[in-house]
């Protein structure tokens, strides 16, 4: 299992030579391309090759790739299994296509996202978002989602440590059940109170997603990467449109 915090940075592929905002932009374009891939042989091959290429460029560590695939499996295999079983029962194999498409595109999208996160340190996210032409509110939201998730992951770990130290893990079954049932309430209340306090801090500090990096002049590598990513997106769209 790879925690959210650990999913950032650590990739040492060619994509590291790109500006942070270009890495983010290319990742978004590859992700979008993944969502367009139809489940036909030619398109499938193209989609898998494109995402694999992006993952290699980002230097996605194998552990993280396995983690991304495991996440996709845990999220989508039950859906796929259910749909397949229903299709078999009804004798309508074509009905399994839609869930298969969802599983395929989602898996490719998750791998694309994991690769992009590996190529970008969490600390670079602010500059990356600031250099893209995004509305301030969107920038603020994305930054806070990443920042607070990182801090909450840490806090959740401490909560888990407290449960272990206080003996919940080794307690009698009834006590464990009671404690675990109460946990979501405790955690969600902390989450809500934290959100309120962070909102107050954003107000007091005047944070609205502004500030941050100037967009550095695009290098040749940046332009080439964006062109390639746009091409991939274009081809994926064309394949989808042409029904190939």
């Amino acid at each position: 299992m790879v925690a959210f915090i650990e999913a950032w940075g650590g990739g040492n592929g060619a994509a590291r030579r790109l500006s942070p905002h270009i890495r983010l932009l290319c990742g978004a374009l590859f992700f979008s391309g993944a969502t367009l891939t139809p489940p036909r042989p030619a398109a499938l091959s193209f989609g898998i090759a494109a995402i694999a290429g992006w993952a290699a460029c980002c230097g996605l560590p194998r552990r993280r790739l396995r983690g991304a695939l495991a996440l996709a499996a845990s999220l989508f295999l039950p859906l796929a299994a259910l749909a397949w079983a229903a299709a078999r029962l009804n004798g309508d194999t074509a009905a399994w296509r839609v869930p298969a498409v969802i599983v395929l595109r989602s898996t490719l999208g998750i791998v694309a996202a994991a690769a992009t996160m590996a190529a970008l340190d969490l600390a670079e996210l602010h500059d990356a978002l600031a250099a893209l032409p995004l509305p301030r509110a969107v920038r603020a939201l994305l930054l806070q989602v990443a920042q607070q998730t990182a801090l909450l992951t840490d806090e959740t770990r401490r909560l888990g440590d407290a449960l272990r130290i206080r003996g919940l893990v080794s307690a009698r079954l009834a006590t464990r059940v009671r404690g675990l049932c109460a946990l979501p309430t405790v955690w969600l209340v902390r989450l809500a109170l934290r959100a309120e306090r962070v909102g107050a801090a954003m107000e007091v500090r005047g944070f609205d997603g502004g500030g941050g990096g100037r967009r550095a002049a695009a290098t040749r590598a940046d332009r080439a990467a964006v062109s390639l990513a746009l091409l991939v997106l274009g081809v994926a769209g064309w394949l989808r449109w042409r029904g190939m």
Partner: protein, 250 residues
């Protein structure tokens, strides 16, 4: 209308300030009145739940209040909040809450950038402030990688870097080691800003402040410029605990 002479210079002015968190609930702060002069350093003391944090958050318009609060001559009101907050360096009781960016240097520099300081200058000044607080080598880290004390120092850096005219600090020394406390004390003295600091750290309060306002159940019970009131407050608090521990005389 506020009492007292409004022409008298003040950095902070609480005038009969009361706060209720619920319309039918008790007052968390009740008719608190005192001023902080420009450059004056005041410690706000009191037991848990006496209203220290409530008073600080009211001063930046985070909670509704009755009465009047003025910050550098500006009344704290809905249409002046931005201007008021520009004058203030605020430290929250939980420093994690105010670390808004996933990069330490960027987070501290943000306090300057939002005040119009160019990015490069803001980051240079942020780096200096982090170094002054002993965490200069953590400038490139993400906040979640830091210990509680390190996050506290980063949050303090964010509050101090813009050299605001008023500092409102909630338990600034809570997670600091003795070296960190000494570094912070030196910085606070050097800043020259008016300071209102809520704290349980009486030694730190005596080190930094020259005036002590004590709250009890939301009311001001002492406001003195010498440390004897702090000593009496400390002795009284400890004596009360010992009395409770001994129980009623048989």
């Amino acid at each position: 209308m506020p009492q007292g002479d409004p022409r008298e210079p003040h950095a902070l002015w609480f005038d009969a300030v009361s706060v209720r968190y619920r319309p039918d609930g008790p007052e968390a702060v009740s008719r608190v009145t005192f001023r902080v002069a420009p450059g004056e350093r005041v410690a706000l003391l009191g037991l848990n739940g006496c209203g220290k944090t409530t008073l600080l958050t009211a001063a930046v318009g985070l909670v509704p209040f009755a009465g009047a609060i003025h910050v550098e001559g500006l009344p704290v009101a809905r249409d002046t909040l931005r201007a008021v907050r520009d004058q203030v360096g605020f430290l929250f009781g939980v420093p994690d809450d105010q670390l808004l960016l996933p990069h330490v240097l960027h987070d501290v520099a943000f306090s300057l950038e939002r005040r119009g300081v160019p990015r490069d200058e803001a980051r240079a000044r942020a780096a200096e402030m982090l170094a002054a607080l002993g965490v200069g080598d953590l400038a490139a880290c993400a906040p979640h990688q830091l210990s509680a004390g390190q996050r506290q120092r980063v949050a303090l850096a964010g509050a101090l870097v813009a050299r605001p005219r008023v500092l409102l600090l909630d338990e600034p020394s809570a997670a600091l080691d003795p070296v960190g406390k000494e570094e912070l004390a030196g910085l606070l003295e050097g800043q020259g800003a008016a300071l209102l600091m809520a704290t349980h750290d009486l030694a730190f309060a005596r080190r930094v402040c020259r005036r002590f306002v004590i709250l009890d159940a939301g009311r001001v019970v002492a406001d003195a410029a010498d440390a004897t009131c702090v000593a009496r407050y400390e002795e009284g608090r400890v004596a009360a605990v010992r009395t409770r521990a001994r129980g009623p005389a048989s």
